[in-house]
Symmetry: C2
């Protein structure tokens, strides 16, 4: 997306270089790169939602670019926090440029994104700015809650939902609701779009958790079973841990022990499947997707946009191309 590229490259040179690398525009030497820079899921959602409320693409182009920048700011910091060395199959920004500069680059994208939204004139500027700033705060709260839970005694499903609603759903809700705010749609439409985004985030994250354990690393772009390795609160594991079966019991012992070899991870993955954690997760992801589509149907969007968003929701959750 040209706006994203142009805004990132107008930053202070070092920050521009780090951000442009992270976004896939250049390689680590500063040369043009054909690397995959993310699927621009949130921008695509916002554009489709804009069409659905009768806006032109240029009416929310700046907001769509800002949302992608905001999302990417959290990814840059997330990789540092989790010491993740790979992002989209390439070395993470902090591995290439160092953690210090990468912290500043993430901060700079965050500041840039909010500035773009704040500065863009047009209807509902204040409301849209508020939605963006709130969404960012929620993502950070969710990440912090997840971090705390990971280090602590674990968590239940209610806490899992809350974390996902914050760290994953908040930006999806922002994508869907921004065009409706700009178009002056009534509160019941805004509420339906927010609910659609919330369920979409849950469906996506739960499927994502399944993929972390049983997915193809060349598709997910990250090492397999990293959630188990880090004792991240992952839905299939939480579902399995809460069962009474012998498999669940054995899983609990391994989960709370320092069991981190490849053989341990494989055994834990098998135990999660045996206790029904995978099945429960796959079912629940589908059920959240159904709810998301149901709320989408209440948002009074144009039929063409509804069809497009339905396909988009499905692609987002199931990672189909």
């Amino acid at each position: 997306m040209p706006v994203v590229r142009q805004q990132a490259s107008a930053l202070e040179p070092t920050l521009a270089r780090i951000c442009s690398y992270h976004l896939g525009f250049i390689d680590e030497h500063g040369d043009p790169s054909g690397a995959e820079g993310g699927k621009l899921t949130r921008a695509a959602l916002m554009m489709a939602a804009a069409d659905g409320v009768g806006l032109r693409p240029e009416d929310v182009r700046c907001q769509a670019a800002a949302l992608e920048l905001l999302h990417n700011s959290t990814l840059i910091h997330d990789d540092i926090i989790d010491a993740d060395e790979l992002r989209r199959g390439r070395p993470a920004a902090w591995k290439v440029f160092g953690a210090g500069p990468a912290i500043l680059a993430g901060d700079a994208l965050q500041a840039l994104a909010l500035r773009m939204v704040v500065d863009d004139p047009g209807p509902a500027r204040a409301e849209i700015s508020s939605v963006f700033a709130e969404a960012l705060g929620l993502v950070l709260a969710g990440q912090a809650r997840e971090f705390t839970v990971r280090l602590g005694p674990g968590t239940g499903i209610a806490e899992y939902d809350r974390i996902v609603e914050e760290k994953t759903s908040a930006l999806l809700e922002c994508a869907l609701v921004t065009p409706a705010l700009r178009a002056g749609r009534p509160e019941h439409v805004l509420a339906a779009l927010r609910s659609a985004g919330r369920h979409l985030g849950l469906a996506f994250q739960i499927f994502n958790d399944v993929e972390d354990i049983w997915g193809d690393p060349t598709v997910t772009g990250k090492p397999v079973r990293s959630d188990i390795l880090r004792r991240n609160p992952s839905f299939p594991v939480l579902a399995a841990l809460s069962t009474d079966s012998p498999a669940g019991e054995r899983l609990r012992r391994l989960w709370h022990a320092d069991a981190t070899t490849a053989a341990h991870l494989q055994e834990m993955a098998d135990l999660v499947e045996e206790s029904g954690g995978r099945h429960t997760a796959e079912q629940l992801s589908r059920s959240h997707l159904d709810s998301a589509l149901e709320y989408l149907g209440q948002a009074e969007l144009s039929p063409a946009a509804s069809t497009e968003l339905t396909a988009l929701f499905d692609r987002i959750v199931n990672r189909t191309p």
Copy 2:
């Protein structure tokens, strides 16, 4: 300041704890603390400037709190980036809570500060939001530029000025200009206040650089000569490096060599003084303070507020109580 405290403590619990620790409200165990949480310089400037344009404190209270939170978000990240273990005489937040959580806490303060400004109704809401977002972007650009310069071949005075105008002056300008925006003052007043803030930042930073070398660590709160140790672009050093004297020549050799023992640092400090770097810096700091006060005089503020701001400027630059 109650607003700062209340907003920080309303964050997600882990983030609230880290931020409240950093701000001096609690100790590392979560118990109330009488620690020094910063001098609230920027809030004090904004309050005095508000008085000067005929506003009541409550007209900019939210913005003053937000500015302090924004400033502190950059400090939390700065300590991680520079691996500074002490902040205001206590262990830095990242030393107590870990770098990952401290990155999130800085992000959260940044998001919170911008959200407070964006959400606060009242005159010139959009303009003030824009000033805040721009100021944050400038601080980050300045920090990145400084980081790059430090790792690279060094820098000249023009680049130094630019870095300071970004990393130090931007938030001071924001403090002074926000009340004038809210009060609807004309452009020549805004310009005078921006210039006052720019020179105030330069005066402060240059004096700060002098203090880093010859100041009392119990007053500055950080290890003496850390700028020399890290080869930070510091004004007295830049001035000394640019002289033709034998002392300047010897300093250049040590500066570009891996000379980092206490004896080296002492020798380099002496060489900076011998080459006249300290004298030049002290003179220039005073001269920038004079310029700041001159611009302040053009801002058409009430006489009482002008007197208060004059005293405040002097205290900020010279760190007098």
